[in-house]
Symmetry: C2
Subunit: 465 residues, 2 copies
């Protein structure tokens, strides 16, 4: 159990409070090692692309992985902004105290054996770290965390094998999780083109928790939307404060809450020692704070990316331009389910649509442009332009039936940019990362959904915002 | 609108009634052509791997794509089992009448312009095809269909670019859709290892409809489960008959129903001229018939594959072996949501689990074996074996956190086979087709889900069966 007394009596941290540790200019690794598979070596390797100074600390070596190695923190040429403590639990507290004494910006504690054990000793050890953080202004990430990645500066201050972040495009999202494994798995979306600015995993959160991470990202210019996964918070009101910071910055938060029932709560206690809290209370908090809750983790990243890429809504209804009748019907079903209006085209819009698609298509909303028109960039341009030019439509949904390389994808992106409206590409193919997927995902003006349901759910929240 | 009077007064076709057209030994293409992009040429190319005889028919050519070309159907060396009519709508009826006269097994009609137009002429033309089918025992697929693929014999009798079917493994599924585009997109699951025996797309269904296709697959030995997408049926009771045939054969049907509300029904009328019907009535039909309904199309294929691979349940509860606390919590949440029991291990099972994972893991259900144990094939074997040996557990769920090549996947498959229990691998990574995915999908003893939610939904239905 977290030390509620000390952990709850503060406001959420702002970017400036944690920037030294999350956006450091120098990182030291206490417990750096050359032993294959060791957390110290993996962290050192993960920092290969870091733009700042890296200081391995271990009395056993003069050099490690091509870098000068130091016998102690006190001997470093400068006080590091961030210190990764890759030591066994029994040595953590002494190292943390030294960091506090030296004026380090913040530390990352990998070790487990704290509140998540459920033991009195574990809880007490965690409470001492919390007290240290608060007394000395030393920010602590963890314990029981895999570390974090700030892809903007090449800082992977953790032992997990984080994937590359993807080429930055408009729509970069920040990812905040308690679980390191979930953070890693979700961040692998980068491999198919998702642009991820940060992966911040909080672990036991003796000091900095997911609310603080959200608040940090809200004030980070590169991050345009925030994806959050967590199981519990010592003080949920700090998440409300973080949400207010994000709102002020014009950024949306998408959350997946774990531990929704009593059995999940028991599992959460075993994981990070977190108090899951009442799900109804969290639901109310999400609503009050404008946090968009998703019910399935697999939709988290695509929803956050959509909100990161989409300009503010110019109208609260959608048009659907499909290449097949079947996907058009599915779009209508999901629009109805989630309460998204699909008004019928009229006047000049309707005339243009009729002129742009074959007579055996359906010149309505949803428009079945037919497979023939949908593979022809000129037909697509004309039909899409008809919908996008009509001020009644605030977004265009394009169910994309088959995975294949197509010049149409880039054309759609250009049209979205020209009209400043989001284009939602619903990837209907079960070749989930087949031809065209990477190109579409990297396009700053296309939001890719691999679910018609999540697309219309996201649109309903977008139009309501 | 379909001609209800003539279309409804029959029982569902059985395999023998349609085998000549769906499992033909010879296929003729009327309207075969060398014109790039023409339906005739694409069909001819799609038949390159067909094991039987292929007869292009077109008076303009002596030879087409390296095959002898015939001036008319009457001149063919044999009466073909299947004739693909790749002609404009105005020429279809005459060709169909000739097929009936010659004693052809069945025909595939690509042309549109029938009931889906909503016109009196379109409906009448479709009714004439229906009458022809019933009077002459000529089976008709379509009109307004993209054709079908019977991957067992290399017969792609259609103009769509169907992907390869994947290496056949235990768990081959048959796919039935009304929409050709949806059939194609879903069947691209073959590209990441799904094994698909048939893709049968019904279009306007003037004669053979999705119920008949389901019935056919129920009696096809290679197909072990059936995935169905449809918008409406002239006579829903035939789907009940087909479901009974499948039940008798020990095969499950998973269905995604399109056109669930009035607006969807309007779109369905524009698509295939189908009457969507009352969704409540269909829901009741699915329940009565043991058809498993999924609410999102993206879960259709993985659910069908799971049911195709899984042996009959030996117990009605699941165990979860996770590599992270976060995915363990998510599993509990989704088990609770869908009513899947996760009983705690006891006695020898519990002792074995404790002995197989690190002390900082969680020796319970869900078991957090930790990342350390989960990358070690011996730890995994011992922990998984403990759960699988316990007769209280009927399935093992393994949340798979990160996409990477791992010998653990094959080991898990072996254990599933040895204990004759399904292993559900929940692919938590957003690198959806990353390293390991193809290998897992092709493993006849692993069922891959890309959603924790769908996994437990499917398990709840599996345990209830």
């Amino acid at each position: 159990m977290q030390d509620r007394a000390s952990a709850t009596k503060r406001n959420v941290y702002r970017r400036a409070d944690v920037a030294r540790v999350i956006a450091p200019r120098s990182i030291a690794i206490v417990g750096a090692s050359e032993r294959p598979g060791s957390l110290g070596l993996r962290t050192l390797q993960n920092l290969a692309a870091f733009e700042g100074a890296v200081y391995p600390v271990n009395g056993k070596y003069k050099e490690l992985a091509g870098r000068a190695c130091y016998a102690s923190l006190a001997e470093l040429p400068q006080v590091p902004d961030c210190v990764v403590i890759a030591l066994g639990q029994d040595q953590v507290e002494a190292a943390a105290r030294e960091c506090a004494r030296l004026g380090v910006g913040g530390i990352v504690v990998f070790a487990s054996g704290y509140a998540e054990t459920g033991t009195e000793e574990g809880r007490a050890a965690q409470a001492r770290l919390t007290a240290l953080a608060h007394e000395h202004g030393l920010r602590i990430l963890g314990p029981n965390t895999t570390g974090f990645a700030n892809h903007l500066i090449g800082a992977h201050a953790g032992f997990a094998e984080f994937p590359p972040a993807g080429a930055p495009v408009r729509g970069t999202i920040g990812l905040v999780t308690q679980s390191g494994a979930l953070g890693l798995g979700l961040s692998q979306a980068a491999e198919h083109g998702a642009s991820i600015s940060h992966v911040l995993t909080a672990g036991n959160s003796c000091d900095v928790d997911v609310a603080d991470h959200v608040s940090y990202l809200a004030e980070d210019d590169a991050c345009r939307a925030i994806a959050l996964v967590f199981e519990g918070l010592a003080d949920p009101s700090r998440l409300e404060q973080a949400a207010a910071v994000a709102r002020a910055a014009g950024k949306r938060i998408v959350a997946y809450k774990l531990a929704i029932g009593p059995e999940g709560a028991a599992a959460a206690m075993h994981h990070t020692g977190s108090i899951a809290g009442s799900d109804a209370d969290y639901d109310a908090l999400f609503s009050r704070s404008g946090i968009l809750r998703v019910a399935r983790s697999e939709t988290l990243i695509e929803t956050a990316i959509f909100l990161a890429k989409a300009p503010p809504p110019s109208a609260r209804a959608a048009a659907v331009m499909s290449s097949s009748g079947g996907t058009a019907i599915m779009a209508v079903d999901k629009a109805n389910l989630h309460g998204v209006a699909l008004p019928q085209p009229e006047g000049r819009t309707l005339e243009e649509i009729k002129a742009s698609i074959p007579s055996f298509g359906a010149a309505r909303n949803p428009c079945d442009a037919t497979a023939q028109a949908s593979t022809n960039p000129d037909s697509v341009r004309r039909c899409a332009e008809a919908f996008l030019s009509d001020p009644r439509y605030g977004a265009l949904v394009v169910p994309w039936g088959k995975a294949y390389d197509s010049p149409v994808l880039a054309r759609l992106g250009e049209l979205g940019a020209a009209h400043n409206k989001p284009i939602c590409l619903v990837w209907m193919s079960q070749w989930l990362e087949g031809p065209g997927a990477l190109e579409a995902e990297r396009n700053p003006n296309l939001a890719v959904f691999r679910s018609m349901d999540s697309c219309f759910f996201a649109l309903s929240k977008y139009f309501a915002s």
